[in-house]
Amino acid sequence: MIGSLQTYQSIFSSAADEVRQFNTLLVIFLVVCAIMYTLVIAFLIAGILRRRRADAHVVENGMHHRQNPLMRTGLIAWGSLVGVGLIALAIASFVADRSLASTSAHERLSITVTANQWWWDIQYNSADVSKTLHTANELHLPVGVPVRITLHSNDVIHSFWVPSLAGKQDLIPGRENDITLVPRKVGIYRGQCAEFCGTQHAHMALVVNVEPYADFIRWWQHQLQPAVAPQTPLALAGYIVVTTGQCAMCHSIAGTPASATVGPDLTHLASRRSLAAGTLPMGKGQLYGWVADPQSVKPGSKMPTIPLEPNQLHAVVAYLETLK
């Protein structure tokens, strides 16, 4: 548990090939630069401590042409060391860059992520259109499978950043970017928008669940199912409020008349780990709080505070809880 928390959002994890590349590069840079820095400081301190020689004022004495052969050798060695260090760094970053680029050649899963103020729209693409899956704010990835994530934005510039898995990549309106990665460790990771995108930028998070391939396929199959019909009278009342009122103007729930795309898809809302793009953990109390007054939880969010009667609120939450 503690182990998983430590890598929840950390650039020092080794949960994907990409982040391993970055960390190797970081270590190489750190070692090379640390050695050079230590040498420079050592020479500086030696220069300060060294006693002045009698002929220190070579320029004034007109004796500056008298060179110290040891100094000459030292300077040449120093220059070569700098050159070798720079070449080593250049080669290391070239190799890392090439290996990052090679992932896209072996892509086996294609996902489209569209950023909105302030949530993530996620679509799993499949050659078979009936298998194309639409969800939001929670990314599931099979471990060991090279995945290519295509990035779009609907409004302003956002940035896709799951520190434990890969570097940042911007989502730019009107343009298509992509990022490729190969997750290597099963676990739950947190992603975060990394480009200031408005008042609720800080509450624009993403849960990434890296799971074994069989679990991933099972998850995909389950998510493709339409929402279950409400079973209790209370849930049925909630279903009516959701599908005939304001909720359906923005949200979609597969298998119901609600099919708008302004806000996140709610078909399997209760199966997710978080609510409102990582703002709240999923739970009954949080659902109540969020539905009753989203503007106090996430002020400025595009979801308006809808004046619901108490019995309507109970019904809506009861219905949303059934969307497993």
Partner: protein, 185 residues
Amino acid sequence: MSLRSRKAEILLIATAIFTLAACDREERHSRSKPLGETVPSGESPDTIIPGGGPSNPLDPRAAEYDNNSPALAEGQFLYTKMNCVGCHAHGGGGMGPALMDDKWRYGGRIDQIAATIAEGRPNGMPSWRGKLTDDQIWKLAAYVRSLSGQPSKDVVSSRADAMSTGSPQTLTPHQAAKSADTAQQ
């Protein structure tokens, strides 16, 4: 401290206070106040008369949304997302009447526009009450009003959300509303 520098200091503070107090352009209301209040429905018999007719005094909520930049921006977002574009285009009209001209069949005041959105109007305009919140309806009304250049130029967006070949809203000429209620503006 000399008297002169003390005076200058007081003047500076006073200027800062007045400058800050003038910043209501950016005032954000994340929800309508008070909750549960509805768009004035009592107005409908008056406002539904083409060309205006006698109308009620301006709704006090108008001040909250009119000339308010975040409200206009939110309204612009809703205008696209709720597909107002489908009938009214980006203000030029189509199946529905143009919104960027000076003609207002049911009144061009912000509360009258809000009432039109909430109640719907004959020949195609659907009613949005219960589909959008009042806050959203008022924000939409604020944006619709800005299409004909009604709000002051420092609150409108200089860049439209949609692709546009026209000049930005900051350059839209002001269209004095021609309906009978103009006197009430």
